[in-house]
């Protein structure tokens, strides 16, 4: 099972840039890039912050494939 995410899709829907989302959740832009490329698995706290910022349920944003 691989942890996938739809961060890029919902970020673009909300018209956020990677930089803006990074500032919103308090991480670096590189971290957002890594999450979107499935290279880095965020902590539950960060995942929830991203979900909150993108106004989407966490289980929609992060899922197993």
């Amino acid at each position: 099972m691989i942890l996938m995410n739809t961060v890029r899709e919902y970020r673009q829907k909300m018209s956020f840039t990677q930089e803006e989302l990074a500032i919103e959740v308090g991480v670096s832009r590189q971290t957002i890039i890594s999450i979107e490329k499935y290279r880095y698995k965020p902590s539950l706290e960060l995942a929830m912050k991203i979900a909150q910022s993108l106004k989407i349920k966490i289980e929609v944003l992060f899922y197993f494939e």
């Binding site: 990074a22 308090g26 991480v27 670096s28 590189q30 971290t31 890594s34 880095y40 965020p42 960060l46």
Partner: protein, 141 residues
């Protein structure tokens, strides 16, 4: 290949290790078979300290001028740092065992020049490998 501010700062550390090896290690290699007196070593240590201060000051000023934005230390940085420092720690431990082993068995270590050279080689190698691994993690995770 575009490097981030953090990757550049790791590169600065790696370049320092390389420069140190090129500039100062020939001296310690040359002195490996002799008994170094402390006055000779301390003058070299002062030279190295001055060189390190100048190098790091210049490098970090350049880095700050090139990357104006403030860097945020987040959980990814903590994860990468903990992985790379763990590797560094394991390598230091292995080096220590290697050092003790060589010290107990090798007859060439009856001069303090040899001990100093061997310790410096180990420290440089471990530091360089740790930084290289850190850079690798920043590029791939």
């Amino acid at each position: 290949m575009k490097l981030s501010k953090r990757e550049s700062s790791i590169l600065i550390e790696m370049i320092f290790a390389v420069l140190f090896s090129l500039i100062y290690m020939p001296f310690f290699y040359g002195e490996r078979l002799s008994s170094l007196d402390m006055t000779h070593v301390s003058s070299k240590a002062i030279q190295i300290t001055v060189f390190a201060i100048i190098y790091f000051s210049a490098a970090y000023v350049l880095l700050e001028l090139s990357f104006k934005q403030k860097t945020i230390q987040d959980e990814r940085d903590d994860m990468i740092n903990s992985k790379s420092y763990k590797l560094g720690y394991v390598l230091y431990e292995l080096s220590l065992f290697l050092f003790i082993g060589v010290l107990l068995t090798g007859s060439s270590f009856n001069k303090n020049g040899a001990i100093l050279f061997f310790v410096l080689v180990l420290l440089l190698m471990v530091s360089f490998i740790k930084s290289l691994f850190q850079l690798y993690l920043y590029r791939t995770s």
